[in-house]
Symmetry: C2
Subunit: 110 residues, 2 copies
Amino acid sequence: MTQPKANVHRVFHALGDPTRRKIVEQLSERPYSVSQLAIPLAITVAAVVQHLQILEESGLVRTAKLGRVRTCRIEPTGLSVMEQWISERRTTWEKRFDRLGDLLEEPEES
Amino acid sequence: MTQPKANVHRVFHALGDPTRRKIVEQLSERPYSVSQLAIPLAITVAAVVQHLQILEESGLVRTAKLGRVRTCRIEPTGLSVMEQWISERRTTWEKRFDRLGDLLEEPEES
């Protein structure tokens, strides 16, 4: 079994697409088979398979085949990559305000 | 001044593009003018302006013109929208495990 290679670019690209976000939303509720996913999305099974491949490569979804049915589950690695990127932006941004606050609080030199 | 209308689709679409993520990364460090942003990205000012428009509409960036210079700053609204979406997925997903845990802990009926 190959480990999904989650990286910032793959995850953001994967979730930039509304159908793929919909798939992740569905799978956060419970595992689904490929054909079960296709019904509410009103797209073909082949299209779902393509989206799933991108989601799997981004570490957002895991799929496993048992007999003739492929079951899809959410994989939290990809979401963590995204959270990490946002958190880094916030930290950098907030640090700037802290430095500004420090400057304002510094007593004037006499 | 119009309020940026951040919504899930706009924010994910905006950050699905690597150049726009780069702009947000830059602006989390400090405000930049449009032409200052263009240099490290090695793209034209016109291209930066187009990206900035999408970022502004997504509530990820704010710009203000003073004289002939347009200054760009990060706007945290868009990042919050994204964090909220991820957090909802995580909550739904983790709740399912809690329910599973409860089921496993339930004493067998005699």
